[in-house]
Symmetry: C2
Subunit: 208 residues, 2 copies
Amino acid sequence: MNNEATATAVDTPPARTRGRGRRPADEVRADVLRAVGDVLLAEGIADLTFERVARLSGVSKTTLYKWWPSKGALALDGYFHAVQDRLAFPDTGDVRADLLEQLHAFVRLMTTTPGGRILTELIGEAQTDKELATAYRSLYSSERRRLAAERLRSAQEAGQLRDDVDVQVVVDQLWGAVYHRLLVPDEPVTGAFVEALVGNLLGGISSD
Amino acid sequence: MNNEATATAVDTPPARTRGRGRRPADEVRADVLRAVGDVLLAEGIADLTFERVARLSGVSKTTLYKWWPSKGALALDGYFHAVQDRLAFPDTGDVRADLLEQLHAFVRLMTTTPGGRILTELIGEAQTDKELATAYRSLYSSERRRLAAERLRSAQEAGQLRDDVDVQVVVDQLWGAVYHRLLVPDEPVTGAFVEALVGNLLGGISSD
């Protein structure tokens, strides 16, 4: 990154940065999201401020506020992009193995990085903050749901899951069950829990 | 209730109420919890104050604070007792029918009374309030879990559920899945959702 351009972008309103040296908005946004993701996964949400993101990304606070109206929105967008690769859904054709792999990665992220704390605090705050609730769904959960549902539907097409199963309900019985233990920690979130979730749901718990 | 005794209990410290007319503590606690439950289910948690509960139950605020150190603890204890009968676990010997009946009652309570809002706000606040998190678990969720697990174990003993199933995981895949939709409302909490939860888990979603 060009240091001079960075300094200018931080210190002046966006109008002043128009001109020859201006980078495409998409590139600038990606830089910001990268900076946000780095702070979140290294330190958590308490240390995330617009000031700090402006400094790290070389983008003015005015521009940041224009794109992300609240710290919650900025955090959710940055977090989504930071964990996208780690939470990718493999498709090897074996739905049990693929679900286990993705769920184990998800649980590791939730329990060994600030990820779990970030999401549970945002979900918590969203219960009494309507704007944050909307941001949570539009910038994070609905897209995670869509990606999970996509993998489950491909398993239905491959004849591995029953056709009459509503895949959105499966999302609640796998990832939703993990969130439940993260939010109300009566029982631990472990690898054995992941195995039991997948085992129970694929094979059923009835003894018939 | 004796009005004169009530006025005395509200207006004087507990030491002054000792003597002939004093009721057993258990009875007084039950009155308080009933008053709390009435307020919560009729109006929600915003209208619950120690002042109001003291007035309604005829118990001094000093005594209330001695028994319940925070509004969250008071609300959770009152709510637990208020919904206990409605959330009872039937045991007719048919685990599918019994789970459906209890889960439908639970979903009705969550969606047609202030119950859902009360619990999601308390869970939300508990994410950043350690004392409330402890109160939530000790006064509400751990006991609800115990009751659900008891019914599931009786189904294992009756040979209806597989012996190797960890019933605590089932709790997360049924009630936990409902809480997930209440807390992150990407998808609706309906009767059809309840049927799908039980159907998926008892029969399994695999097409093998």
